[in-house]
């Protein structure tokens, strides 16, 4: 019997990780406007839905820091104060944008341009190196549906989907039956390359344990071997030569292969050069068979942030508007580097939590100057902000567009209303843009 107090929304897109599962079912209590059940989602995605319910961890009014504690203020006042901070700053940083929808990201670009500030998204600390490598050597890639239907060799290099993208294996890369892979898992050969024996590694048909931070040398050796070069020595990067030969044979003899790579490749020693080499490897493998690669994007819409920034400014992250036009140079204009050098004099953090994953020295410098946080929950960043602007959570409390890790755009759904006075990220940024324009007399 259907409960009259409960409504169910189906085909919901999960706004948590880059897998963007599109089959969730969410039950909402009509009276209390609370989520009571989530079906099909994995544990981390489900948690995000429950976290949207009103709780002590959720903001529902704009807050301003006043003598060490927070007091509630009206939206008009909050926007006015925030705009003042941003206009006064000579080098404001606008960072985050990866856990919100594309329209809000577009407004972020507009605001950064108006302010002559720095615009950056979380790719700066995750797959930024992949983007650098792609700019250097291109990237042969495909959509996840293709892999599901065709891939018979799947390599996870420095990525651990069992924990970071729990339904990836079930929906696209391993267990799922595909058009040409009728027997699911049995029709696929799974290779995991990782210094740690992760839970994904334990599912693999072939697990290659290499020394930490020596991925570049291993890829280099595989590439050389593919070109028929005899390698010297018995092992490379801690992997016996015999196993490398086995791996090369497996890579060459599959019908359709794919490499899914993660932080283990982008954020260890060699960074973008690891990806550069991996892309070149894939390119060379296409002399023998069909081979592609795809980054395992973390935040559900970090791929969208890259897309939106790119089509609006020409660059995907680390963008500087200080001279009135967009310029791009990770290392010079990337958030962590700017904060480490203490070059920022105010920050606006949108839909992300740099305080919990930037280096301590960078966070310290960020906290020295005015900080505005557009954030639904208590996080290490928001609890240190001077002004907190509470948004509705995109994909749960408002609609929008998000890009999956393979850059396929999907339309997010609204399942319930936001608590209290929350506005959407887009509305908040729009109001900031208007306020800044007015104050600057534009």
């Amino acid at each position: 019997m259907a409960d009259k107090n409960i409504r169910t929304v189906t085909d919901v897109i999960c706004p948590f990780c880059g897998t963007l599962c599109d089959d969730l079912e969410v039950d909402i209590d009509n009276k209390e406007e609370k989520i009571v059940e989530v079906r099909n989602g994995c544990q981390i995605g489900t948690k995000k839905y429950f976290s949207s319910n009103p709780s002590v961890h959720r903001y529902d009014k704009p807050l301003i820091k006043d003598n060490g504690s927070y007091k509630a203020i009206s939206w008009d006042e909050a926007i006015d104060k925030a705009a003042d901070i941003l206009i006064k700053a000579k080098r404001p940083l606008l960072y985050g944008f990866s856990s919100t929808e594309c329209d809000a990201q577009g407004k972020g670009v507009e605001l950064a341009e108006l302010l002559g500030g720095i615009l950056d998204n979380t790719a700066s600390v995750c797959h930024g190196p992949s983007l650098l490598a792609i700019q250097d050597v291109g990237a042969p890639t495909s959509t996840l549906g293709e892999y599901k239907n065709r891939a018979d060799l799947v390599v996870f290099w420095g990525s651990n989907p069992v924990h970071a993208h729990p339904r990836h294996l079930g929906r696209y890369s391993d267990f799922i039956r595909g058009y040409f892979r009728k027997d699911g898992s049995n029709d696929r050969f799974i290779v995991v390359v990782d210094p740690r024996n992760t839970h994904t590694a334990q599912l693999a048909d072939m697990y290659i344990q290499l020394n930490p931070s020596e991925d570049y040398e291993l890829i280099n050796a595989i590439r050389a071997m593919l070109r028929g070069v005899e390698l010297e020595g018995d092992e490379i990067s801690g992997v016996p030569k015999k196993i490398i030969i086995e791996l090369v044979n497996a890579l060459k003899s599959c019908n359709y292969g794919v490499i899914f790579f993660g932080m283990g490749l982008t954020q260890t020693l060699s960074h973008h050069r690891n990806i550069d080499a991996a892309i070149c490897l894939v390119r060379e493998l296409n002399d023998h068979t069909k081979f592609l690669l795809t980054p395992m994007r973390g935040h559900y819409n970090v791929a969208g942030a890259n897309q939106v920034f790119t089509w609006q400014t020409g660059y995907s992250y680390s963008i500087d508007f200080s001279r009135g036009y967009p310029r791009y140079n990770p290392g010079e204009f990337s958030s962590v580097d700017l904060l480490m050098r203490d070059e920022i004099d105010a920050s606006l953090i949108v839909a992300s939590d740099p305080a919990s994953n930037f280096p301590a020295a960078a966070v310290k410098n960020m906290f020295k100057y005015p900080l505005i946080s557009i954030e639904p929950h208590h996080t290490p960043t928001s609890v240190n902000a001077d002004i907190i602007l509470p948004p509705a959570i995109a994909g749960i409390e408002c609609e929008g567009t998000a890009y999956r890790m393979d850059s396929v755009p999907l339309r997010l759904r609204k399942v319930k209303d936001a608590p209290g006075d929350c506005l959407t990220d887009k509305e908040i940024l729009e109001r900031l843009v208007e306020a800044v324009k007015k104050k600057k007399g534009e």
């Binding site: 080098r91 302010l115 250097d136 280099n220 050796a221 070069v229 050069r273 550069d276 080499a277 004099d345």
Partner: protein
């Protein structure tokens, strides 16, 4: 030569973008006019005169010698795109010094930050101290980095120096880097660069090198598996015909790249004997 002297009045609060400090911009201008040139401080436009005392008037580009005193470690882009004349910096200097320059000479009596001489296309950049990452490198996404000229760094340099460097024997272009010691990925994706390191290097030297010569007179932390040892040599001939004497071990590579010019003959297994794609390490 006429001297134009610049002295930093106060350290900038934010990085100062002073790409106007070049003989090209100063040419034909009086000190008063030079002071009015635009620099960028944070998101504000300022004038050069707000940060520097300026004495001397500009003449012809090639006759101008700019002498700058003060700690310029937060001043970026000095000498960017210059085509002639001379700049002497007495002190440390910020990012992008001499980037994209195509003629003239820059001497830094101190250390330089990242991107020193990036995409240099002629002229000479000399740094008496250390330099940061990406010395003479290609900017993001460019397939041609340094194409001509010389960079000399007395001390150590960071990672990825001379990435995507492109030289050419028929074109008579020999982009060259001389340095004390180097970080990793020196000459990555080189297409004909000449690199001479007096001391030691970190890992992945010459990664993805298609053509070019790298000479390391010290040690390399780890030589890439795709480099093939050829044997010992007593003399090295550089791309521009100059010779270096000493005991070196010769490697050919990078053999993981398809277009590597030092091909391995499929039948005989011999490595073709050209000066391209070589790494020499002191024996």
């Amino acid at each position: 030569m006429v001297d134009i002297k610049l002295k930093l009045k106060k350290a900038p609060e934010f990085p100062l973008e002073a790409d106007v400090i070049t003989p090209d911009q100063f040419a034909g201008k009086s000190a008063a006019q030079i002071k009015k040139l635009i620099v960028y401080h944070g998101n504000e436009e300022k004038t050069l005169g707000e940060f520097f005392d300026v004495t001397g008037n500009g003449s012809e580009v090639n006759d101008i010698k700019i002498i700058i005193d003060g700690d310029l470690s937060n001043v970026k882009r000095i000498g960017e795109k210059m085509t002639g004349g001379e700049i002497i910096v007495n002190g440390n200097v910020g990012m992008h010094v001499g980037s994209k320059m195509s003629g003239g000479k820059i001497l830094v009596n101190g250390n330089a930050d990242d991107w020193a001489g990036a995409m240099l296309n002629g002229g000479e950049l000399e740094i008496t101290g250390n330099a940061g990452n990406y010395v003479g490198a290609a900017y993001r996404g460019y397939w041609k980095g340094m194409q001509n000229g010389v960079i000399k760094v007395k001390g150590k340099i960071g990672n990825e120096a001379l990435s995507w460097v492109t030289g050419s024997k028929p074109g008579n272009r020999f982009p060259t880097l001389l340095c004390g010691s180097a970080g990793s990925f020196l000459g990555v994706h080189s297409h004909g660069g000449t690199i001479i390191v007096e001391g030691d290097c970190d890992r992945c030297i010459g990664a993805d090198q298609v053509r070019g010569t790298i000479v390391v007179k010290g040690k390399i932390n780890r030589i890439l598996p795709s480099f093939k040892k050829i044997g010992e040599v007593k003399e090295i001939e550089l791309m521009n015909g100059e010779k270096i004497k000493g005991n070196f071990i010769e490697y050919s590579g990078d053999h993981s790249v398809e277009k590597n010019h030092s091909k391995i003959d499929k039948k005989t297994g011999n490595i073709s004997n050209s000066s391209n794609g070589r790494l020499y390490v002191a024996a």
